[in-house]
Symmetry: C2
């Protein structure tokens, strides 16, 4: 039986209060005790100690509230910290300080884990008795981290693709269902509190960027800096794109994708080639990914043994995220936490270019010879056109049509689109999305 966990909690907002509620509820305490899990949050560190946090089951004789990091980090009775502050400045000091002090760390901080993975790995190597749990950092309530740590050890993962941002999936689902414009649905998401006043982290794909970088490490073994992940958000996706998607029996989802392009070559010693990107993707309506609407998340994994597996659940929220934190705690308290939370390192070449069929939406002032010009540029850039779609024209000065390509390299499609943008009758840069 592992020894009791005495926990210092950093941050006590939505998720923190959820963790406290779940851990300290008498029913669960009893259940945990029966499982040999003995956990107490002995200190909580917050900016404002006098703010009422309406913690259920709080007892001042058990738990001290402080605003000083050192009250937890220097407390030798505390053997585990839970970091729920967010951000990468103070959270980094706290997490790194805790590891150096030999305390186990549980965190929901995707940006911290993704951006400082190499440093965290280094620190954990120097402190081999410290366990590091981050189930809550990716896809809220879906147990995707533990699953990737445990269910694919005899398998070879070839692709990880996921809807990992509830805000944008809510927006895209709404655009699809109601045919409304991007600006309208963003405003609605903001009014409902789904999107921030500054929505960039969500709509520009940066949130997904961190998450797919973390999953790529678990899937392929190489540390990938989020800033090296080419990232396209949803702000240019329009109602017209959903119309064209429907014509193609498809929908549009913002996905984080990590894909094996080339396995390692044992003879030449060439490392595996992997591509990782964030982009809106055109996806057939019959695909399980297309069936996920609203704020729900999904991670789909392709692998040699299992072909295709998918994990679906809430991507955020107090209790889903708190539940994932609790899963890390229970694992730790039972002595089951993995020694290698990020799995062994495997050399990896990150290839920003990848092959796919592409959806290209072009906006023009209608005229003669447009298709010929576009066709000529496609040929010049060695992009093979698969189909051309044109909805009935309403406004001749502002016509949108779609070209889909045969399987082509992203770089060539990008070059083609830059050339198309320079044509006199083209109104703006074409939008190009991979087709899955």
């Amino acid at each position: 039986m592992a020894k009791p966990l005495i926990v210092g909690l950093f941050g006590c907002g939505t998720v923190g209060a959820g963790v406290f509620d779940l851990l300290h509820s008498p029913v669960r305490r009893q259940k945990f005790a029966a499982m040999g899990v003995n956990v107490l949050i002995s200190k909580i560190c917050v900016q404002n100690v006098s703010k009422d946090r309406a913690l259920k089951h709080f007892s001042a004789s058990e738990t001290i509230i402080t605003s000083r990091f050192s009250d937890i980090l220097e407390d030798k009775s505390i053997n585990c910290i839970i970091e729920l502050m967010g951000g990468t400045n103070e959270a980094k000091d706290v997490v790194f300080g805790a590891i150096k002090a030999g305390k186990h760390v549980i965190t929901a901080n995707k940006a911290l884990v993704a951006n400082f993975m190499s440093e965290i790995l280094q620190l954990l190597q120097e402190h081999p008795n410290v366990h590091f749990g981050y189930e809550a950092a990716v896809a809220g309530g879906i147990p995707i981290i533990h699953t990737l740590q445990n269910a694919y050890n005899a398998d070879h993962i070839t692709e990880i693709a996921g809807i990992m941002n509830g805000t944008t999936n809510f927006m895209l689902s709404k655009m699809e269902a109601e045919g409304v414009a991007y600006d309208v649905v963003l405003k609605e998401a903001q009014e409902l509190g789904f999107a921030e006043a500054n929505p960039s982290a969500d709509v520009d794909g940066f949130d997904v960027q961190s998450k797919i970088a973390i999953l790529a490490k678990l899937g392929f073994g190489g540390s990938i800096r989020p800033t090296d992940v080419p990232t396209v958000g949803i702000s240019r996706v329009s109602a017209a794109d959903f119309e064209y998607a429907r014509m193609m029996e498809s929908t549009i989802k913002l996905l984080g994708v990590a894909k094996l392009l080339q396995p390692a070559n044992d003879v030449t010693g060439q490392p595996q080639e992997v591509t990782v990107y964030v982009s809106p993707v055109l996806i057939k309506r019959t695909h399980v990914i297309a069936s996920i609407s609203g704020a729900t998340n999904l991670v789909n994994i392709r692998s040699t043994n299992l072909d295709s597996t998918a994990y679906v659940g809430p991507g955020a929220g107090r209790y889903p995220t708190a539940n994932s934190v609790l899963n890390d705690i229970v694992q730790l308290a039972r002595g089951d936490a993995p020694l290698d939370p990020f799995k062994a390192s495997v050399p990896l070449t990150l290839q920003p270019d990848y092959e796919a069929r592409f959806y290209v939406r072009i906006t023009v002032a209608d005229g003669l010879g447009i298709i010929r010009h576009v066709g000529q540029l496609a040929e010049e850039t060695e992009v093979s056109i698969y189909s051309i779609l044109q909805a009935p024209i309403v406004d001749r000065s502002n016509v949108q049509f779609v070209v889909t390509t045969e399987s082509s390299l992203l770089s060539k499609v990008r070059t083609m689109c830059q050339k198309i943008a320079a044509l006199p009758f083209v109104r703006d840069e074409p939008l190009y999305l991979p087709i899955m």
Copy 2:
């Protein structure tokens, strides 16, 4: 570091050979060794030792093939057995014998686990150092057992519902997509090798019965005998039902369902009330369960913290099932196998009656007053009718129409249907399916 696992493998058919391949492939051996996982299959027990099993990576100096159970069960160097024989006679002798001999057990045998759960629990209590893994017993390649063991400890599960039989899901998907009759699609499934010559275990729902009994134990804590699970198969589902389902923007799936009706009452000491059943279910096309077609499996879990989570993957096959066996092996070899593989026992009342909306398909020779008669019987049995659907009539002597009910008790709907069946113009027993 845990000590090496020396394994005796019982059964070496499709899955057994897959397990051998995965475990003994040089690449994986190297990977496992780096993870501290050291496993060797030292003996294989099969009926016919002279049959060529085309095992990759087989070496007679490492592995002995025998036909005597005792060669493994009495071999003190063997500390773990993998049972892949199937059936509940010899497999029971082998598994019980292994536990009594202090050997860890890994099995893919759903019928054995479901039917002898109480005895297995008893034996494991008497041999507390023995670990018991059965990830492969339910939903092939989906890591649903480990997930239920680990991801819901701080949560309260309220419902488990799953597509857990690939054969029937293949058949139902085909009936939906092509409008073909049950008999036609069964024959096709048999020709393709998806369905057995005697398809009863699949089409009559017995396969799912065992699986949902196992998941119900993990979800709610009470041992449920498969024979206590009311089970309806798919043999009465017709092309007409899919037509009516389409009118209701729904489809039909064979589900195993375990649902909490009433939580335990701490004041009165009343145990929780749970209903468990296997039945074709009418389900909205927008539900994630409806998106799963072909031989794929899905398990959907509803819970207090996570609301709805779903796990999707292959339900059978050599490498999916072998992968799940390997997951148990890796867990065991790393010392992470749970001490309570079935989780703690919680008192439970199994309630065969449950409330749902129901779909009732009635076949009649057309005449006057039919709706009035049916309405009268519904009123008598206290079933409230929600809607009546009638496709255009082709053959007046054989008219099918559908009544959907408001939320009603199964027992009342059954009584109503028995009464309807006794009406002179009704051609056979109405088909009633819960609506999810």
